[in-house]
């Protein structure tokens, strides 16, 4: 528990700095766009209807979807700029996060600013004209100060929303306080989840209070009060950003972007690769908790330099193949096709699979003499299958079922945690499992062999982006990992992170996994 808290605190400066960076940038842009737009909209009814309509429409898009939509949009834009100007636009990380959050911040600011400006008493506006103010003086000296309380209420709403929604930026590869939440959810590290939520909430509350001070200062005409609030915001933002300045040093060493999808094994492997690159003197940037489909496209587009994926996933999702090839043939065909179609280099297989398999309690399997799927088929009518929520509808299951003629007494679906528990309490006899899951070893389970090779293989493979294909630093640091990680070693590392007692961080698990591996070869 204490160790988890220490680990969380160690990441805080970096996560907080990035979170403040994207939130503050998005809010500043939101203000810059909304305020002039509000002035125009308050004067012109037609503009008002159109602008508020569009902003309202954007607001109805769920924030996660808005973030996700910017990725393909920027990817297309990148292809366009590549063709016309020869430069690409980064489609992952800072840019999509800030763009989506800016769009999200616009509506509350815009709507309140329009309401505030239109709510100024027409008699007071006439008085401003009557005492001889120019339209600009009237706006700045009368309309803006009188609308300010309503405008500031909108700015405060936008700030709280933006700081909250910025946690979602993690899913498009932008570091934020969401890194705690996403990784914590996947590794069932509730200390991280609570820590991330708490930090984001605290940030939102502090920002809101400082803005409240500015609001109160403006309403009561107390210059010192709103200056104090503004100074607090500026100084606070500045302080939060300091870790980024030191990180952005002038180091000449190459920087590699390592991607990870959203589960423990991916975090551990990314840590392992990162540690090896840093040991070789390179700098490393991590993009964690990426969506499965996003990761490969990001690599192909050069937004990532390296990540680990699984042969079966790439075979069906990227190459669109439905046939099942023997393990070695599939790997060589995959290697050829990824290079040919996407310019992506397959550095090699790490040595273990993370496939859908069937597992049983070891004593029960021994007692019934079941070691393979073929053995299982004979006993299946007396046994009950427990599956995770999607297994029974996946192609792997139909392939196994038809290849071995599996016909169970009953089939039940569970949340993975409860599925393992049901096997322990013997409510079910056989379960679907991921072959590198740490609980296979911890719960003393056996994985049934697949003598017919009916299920597609899911070898963990290291992929390099097109621009890093011949990067000597990267290749020499990571090549020793090829074929070096056994499924037993990976299970143990996963278990360290996933278990409830004496939980380790992915970094600690990676360090344990990495001991004894061959050192980096000189390039």
């Amino acid at each position: 528990m204490n160790g988890q808290l220490t680990a969380a605190l160690r990441e805080l400066p970096g996560f907080m700095a990035n979170h403040v960076l994207i939130s503050a940038t998005a809010l500043a842009l939101g203000l810059l766009i909304s305020l002039p737009l509000a002035v125009i909209a308050a004067r012109n009814g037609r503009v008002r209807v159109v602008v508020l309509g569009i902003a309202g429409l954007i607001q109805t898009i769920p924030s996660l979807a808005l973030l996700a939509l910017f990725y393909p949009l920027l990817l297309a834009l990148s292809a366009l700029t590549q063709a016309t100007f020869g430069t690409t636009v980064p489609a992952l990380g800072f840019l999509p996060s800030v763009l989506a959050l800016t769009l999200y911040a616009i509506l509350p600011i815009l709507r309140n600013a329009v309401t505030g400006l239109m709510g100024v008493d027409p008699k007071v506006i006439e008085a401003a004209d009557g005492v001889g103010m120019t339209p600009r003086q009237r706006l700045l000296q009368v309309e803006v100060p009188l609308a300010a309380p309503v405008v500031m209420a909108g700015v405060r709403t936008a700030t709280v929303w933006t700081i909250g929604a910025a946690t979602l930026a993690t899913s498009v590869g932008q570091t934020s306080l969401g890194n705690y939440i996403f990784s914590g959810l996947q590794t069932e590290n509730w200390v991280f989840v609570v820590f991330g939520c708490g930090a984001a909430t605290l940030l939102a509350v502090v920002a809101d209070q400082l803005l409240g001070l500015i609001e109160a200062g403006i309403v009561r005409g107390r210059t010192r009060t709103w200056m104090f609030g503004l100074a607090g915001l500026v100084v606070g933002t500045g302080l939060a950003l300091i870790p980024l300045l030191s990180a952005g040093g002038t180091s000449k060493s190459p920087t590699y972007v390592i991607g990870a999808k959203n589960f423990s094994e991916q975090f551990i492997l990314a840590e392992l690769m990162g540690a090896r690159l840093e040991a070789a003197g390179s700098r490393v940037v991590r993009k964690d908790s990426l969506g499965s489909a996003v990761a490969f496209r990001a690599l192909a587009a050069g937004d990532l330099d390296v990540y680990v994926d699984y042969s079966g996933t790439l075979w069906t999702n990227v190459l669109g193949r439905t046939d099942v090839l023997p393990r070695a043939e599939l790997l060589s065909e995959l290697k050829r096709a990824l290079m040919q179609r996407h310019g992506v280099t397959m550095l090699g297989s790490l040595g273990f699979e993370n496939a859908y398999v069937l597992a049983m309690n070891a004593p029960a399997a021994n007692a019934s003499g079941i070691a393979s799927m073929a053995d299982l088929a004979l006993k299946a009518p007396q046994l009950t299958l427990g599956a995770d929520l999607e297994f029974l509808s996946r192609p792997e299951w139909s392939a196994l079922k038809s290849a071995y003629g599996l016909n169970f007494k009953g089939e039940r679906s569970f949340n993975p945690t409860f599925m393992y528990r049901a096997l322990q309490t013997k409510d079910v006899d056989v379960i679907s499992a991921f072959s590198s899951d740490g609980r296979i070893a911890a719960n003393n389970l056996v994985v049934l062999s697949d003598p017919k090779g009916a299920a597609p293989s899911y070898d963990a493979i290291v992929l390099l982006s097109p621009r890093r294909a011949n990067d000597a630093n990267l290749v020499s640091a990571l090549t020793p990992l090829v074929g070096a990680i056994t499924v037993e070693a990976m299970r143990e590392a996963n278990l360290r992170v996933d278990r409830d007692q004496a939980k380790a961080t992915p970094k600690e698990a990676a360090a344990a996994l990495g001991t004894g591996l061959p050192p980096t070869r000189a390039p």
Binding site: K123, A127, A128, D129, G130, V131, G132, M133, G221
Partner: protein, 244 residues
């Protein structure tokens, strides 16, 4: 059309009252003077210069304006309200401050009111501030839109009389819009009666008190005359029947 074929000449130093029911066009006519409204056709001249040719904000800074209900800026202190036009004209701050003090004295408000906000003042005090603001930049011309309409009769009388004094002492030219004929008779030296965008009569108060040919003008003046006679009769009766 709010106003049609209105022709008025206002000599310097005059106190003109524009009188009529709502919708008669009296306010529209007054607002063309400082270009709060620009007429579709026709011309307004001040000292021979057509106001349409002048920059509207510059013109308005030279003309005092007392708004209906005061029209004070709620987010500015009384001092800032009074000093707003001098500030727009670029007066130095110390000169503005001493001018604000002078004006508070002129409208008979204590000096510490300068730091208060309009919402903290009574209606009568707000109207005094509005008069002070109109006079701040030493205009020669003052326009007043129902200046004392929302006040109780006593305050109204006090303020009206006080303003009349300032008008004479400062040598102002004043155009006042009011729907109250009695107020017009008491304050103005010339009364312009409007109906449906046209001038119905342009007379002195004395002339207005003579028997009128136009039935509308006659009806307008009949009410205050009847009230005055009624009160006089009551006073006379009271004197006769009072116990000795």
């Amino acid at each position: 059309m709010a106003v049609d074929a209105v022709s008025l000449a206002v000599p310097a130093g005059a106190f003109i009252a524009l009188v009529g029911t709502s919708g008669s066009g009296k306010t529209t006519v007054m607002k063309t003077i400082n270009r709060l409204i620009d007429p579709d056709r026709g011309v307004v001249r001040i000292g021979g210069v057509a106001v349409g040719a002048l920059d509207a904000p510059t013109l308005r800074r030279q003309i005092g304006y007392v708004f209906q209900g005061g029209g004070l800026f709620p987010h500015m202190s009384v001092g800032q309200n009074i000093g707003v036009t001098p500030r727009l004209l670029g007066w130095p701050p110390d000169k503005i401050a001493s001018r604000v003090g002078e004006l508070l004295e002129l409208v008979e408000l204590p000096q510490d009111v300068a730091g208060r906000f309009p919402a903290q003042l009574s209606g009568g005090q707000q109207q005094r501030v509005a008069v002070a603001r109109a006079l701040a930049a030493r205009p020669n011309i003052v326009l007043m839109d129902e200046p004392f309409g929302a006040l109780d009769p006593v305050t109204r009388d006090i303020l009206g009389t006080a303003y009349k004094g300032m008008h004479s002492a400062l040598g102002l030219t004043t155009v006042m819009v009011t729907h109250d004929i009695q107020e017009a008779i008491l304050l103005a030296d010339r009364i312009v009666i409007m109906r449906a965008g046209r001038v119905l009569a342009d007379v002195t108060p004395q002339e207005l008190l003579q028997p009128q040919v136009d039935p509308d003008v006659a009806a307008l003046i009949a009410v205050p005359l009847r009230h005055a006679r009624h009160i006089q009769d009551m006073i006379a009766a009271g004197v006769r029947t009072a116990p000795s």
